[in-house]
Symmetry: C2
Subunit: 460 residues, 2 copies
């Protein structure tokens, strides 16, 4: 490294020249150059501070010194593959296991959520001998080809896409905008019955269910908090399939009340496979698949070795272990519960005042604020959501919008986020919404359904 910082325009030019054009940047017309970060703050090339409400990967806070030290010392000592015995991999596996139901005891360390979900599918296919997979509408499970197939969030972006006939899409269990809503007498069972129907239809065509895969809470799908129905797993199991809980976005204490989001479904609910990613290494490329002894033995019985060159190396495992220790020591799960609860309650206070606020939903520091142009028709306020994001950025707050209509403001900050941070961001959002509503002539009694803001949905 030269140590010399490039002019921002040079960075942009080199990026255009040498980085794949499919790799999008935040705020593409006025991108931010970030050179440093600490806790819940990021700093640009002018040392201007941004409050970070979006980087769920920097789980215990950007550049946490204990995580950095763990990684740096291990890098200086040894970094090699898992074909040699090493303490870090087994200690990390043991500590991860202690956060999970006892049955989930066997770990496979990999380098990304995508590698984890692909491996989970391979296990499901091998264990069941079946091929069909049920996924949720708006789901995102990763970028490798097998996962594009089960990620409607991705394949719907493609101009031409042939759906894999072995993949079946169940409705997103969104009780605000989905097929069964809060006014339904039993949306949980209704969504579970949809899965049952899909299984029947697949079987009628000769399909056999290998797995049902779902994020424990849908993130890209719009920060969806589903109604819990363990009968879903029961239907899948009855069809000979297994249940894969994707905790890549929502695990590691983010939901506040539990360490894993699938635990929101009750103590008795144990998935067959849990996949982990993003926060597990606080930014270091690290992920994990945890499963039962039963599934692991069946996977081995194929006769094929599983070797992952970088997976489970001593540096990755030292970092993963340090992240778990920091979550515990700093009670970040407790902080997520307290600060996330405070965020939701503060947003709720503003809800009545703002015609644009359709729904507020969250668990811990996983919160969605859905903007609508009409509280009855639920017309997505997509452009307005983009306007909020851009105006917040101008005020040095980083937030993003997602969901199928890109109208859900997504809060998933580093877990050291504070109540003061909440006060700041909610105050800014309150002001921006007031201004937008004023410009659009919206009052709380009357939403408008017009073209609204100016920016395109594809921006962030």
């Amino acid at each position: 490294m030269s140590g010399v910082e490039l002019e921002k325009s040079t960075t942009i030019d080199l990026r255009k020249k040498h980085i794949g054009p499919s790799c999008k940047i935040f705020f593409s017309h006025e991108p931010i150059k970030i050179v440093q970060a600490k806790g819940q703050y990021m700093y640009d090339e002018n040392r201007q501070r941004y409050l970070d409400c979006i980087n769920n990967v920097a789980h215990v806070g950007h550049c946490h010194p204990e995580v950095v030290n763990a990684g740096a010392s291990q890098m200086a000592l040894l970094n090699t593959n898992s074909r040699f015995l090493h303490d870090n991999i087994v200690l990390f596996a043991q500590k991860l296991q202690s956060t999970l139901p006892e049955k989930l005891s066997v770990c496979y360390f990999v380098n990304s959520g995508s590698e984890a979900n692909d491996l989970a599918l391979r296990m499901a296919w091998q264990y069941t001998g079946h091929k069909d997979v049920i996924t949720l509408q708006n789901a995102y499970h990763g970028h490798v080809s097998s996962l594009i197939d089960i990620s409607p969030y991705k394949f719907h972006q493609m101009s031409s896409y042939e759906m894999n006939p072995r993949v079946h899409v169940a409705p997103s269990p969104d009780v605000y905008r989905g097929k069964y809503r809060r006014d339904h007498p039993d949306p949980a069972t209704a969504y579970a019955d949809e899965v049952k129907d899909i299984i029947h239809k697949a079987e009628e065509k000769g399909g056999k269910i290998a797995a049902f895969i779902a994020e424990s809470l849908q993130s890209c799908g719009g920060q969806v908090i589903p109604p819990w129905a363990t009968s879903k797993k029961w239907h899948v199991r009855k069809a000979g399939g297994i249940f894969i809980a994707d905790e890549v976005q929502v695990g590691f204490g983010r939901v506040g009340t539990h360490f894993w989001a699938f635990q929101l479904q009750g103590e008795d609910f144990v998935p067959d496979i849990v996949t982990m990613g993003k926060p597990i290494g606080n930014g270091h490329p690290l992920s994990c698949v945890v499963t039962t002894r039963e599934v692991a033995e069946a996977f081995m019985s194929s006769g094929m070795e599983y070797f992952n060159t970088f997976g489970g190396n001593p540096v990755s495992c030292a970092i993963g272990l340090a992240v778990l220790e920091v979550i515990e020591k700093e009670d970040l799960q407790g902080n997520a519960l307290r600060v996330g609860g405070y965020l939701c309650s503060l947003l709720e206070k503003h809800k009545e005042k703002h015609p644009l606020i359709g729904d507020i939903r969250g668990r811990g520091l996983f919160v969605g604020l859905e903007l609508v142009r009409d509280k009855h028709k639920l017309t997505p306020a997509t452009a307005e959501a983009q306007e909020v994001i851009y105006r917040l950025k101008e005020q040095h707050i980083l937030l993003s919008a997602d969901g199928p209509h890109r109208n859900v403001l997504k809060f998933k900050p580093p877990m050291c986020f504070t109540k003061e941070d909440v006060d700041l961001v909610v105050e800014k959002i309150d002001n921006i919404l007031t201004e937008i509503e004023h410009t659009l002539g919206m009052t709380n009694k009357q939403n408008v359904d017009n073209e609204g803001g100016k920016r395109k949905a594809s921006e962030t």
Copy 2:
């Protein structure tokens, strides 16, 4: 980290309990616990030193201080995703590009060779609109499901495997044991013609070729040095497909004469996509796909964003950049040429003496020593190769055996390997071969074809 080392037996027990049984360990009956490494040496829990002839990932030497410092300082400063502008990603891309033909100018940073090869396939499918892929016999391209399909090295391990009808396997261009050998008048054209035939057969069945993928030199396939025939690319191009050069094992100066192994085919030979992995981050989870502007634009035209959470983060890129700088500064490519050449010449000197030595082949520090029980029948000396590996290990030298018969001793050491290291390992191999041949009653005039050594092929 507690800082306390576990008893080796405890590490083994915890590994059995918590790590997937498909994740194999070297020397499974007497595994080694490695706690430290430096340069071309690894150290076990008793601080016993091992000479490392196998870890091609620790490319510039284990724990190289400049690489460690680059990673550690960047970890303390910033580690975030590539949706923010950052200098490291563009500087790394620019420096990588400077090692490649000008046309190969667009980079996609990912976390593993598997992610890289899967992305290369996605690009080929999108660019060509075709689906069929030609791969080589004994090829290994990665562990995600799309790559198992194109990796006969892996899928042949499975007790039951249904071959993907879109995948076509061409003969391995092995001039020692393959379909066309050194005694063939033109093995290069003969192997290229096999590819041409495969294309015709695929097209007759309605298939359309998206890509031909091959390691520039086959590694797991048995350290194969192919005869060069650029007409292979021509046949593939004529069928509308593109050429993917997998440099995951053999890139970054290892072959000595060139920085990339595909360059051995001549200055004019430019693949459409090059995938990189293992050595690129000296152990850090990092990989890259480099392609032409033409392929990159076509990939973007699908409408689908490519986002990889950890790919191209500032830490990974700082490390990648440092690795390139060290290769240059320490002239490791030159060292590979000199030391690798010395290794081959020294092995050649012993060839006549040893009935077990069938073939010696290599480029730079990528060398294979193929053991046979019969120099005419080429009966693979699989058990003997295992015996050599185990005895070397007892003498604190780490070597491995690979290839379809697991009878090829593979040299792929860190690139700081010295002539003294070569002297040591060749002397030991010479002694061990002499002992084994003596035990088996082999003389150079007469190979024996019996059960030989005692250890199983599946060990390493």
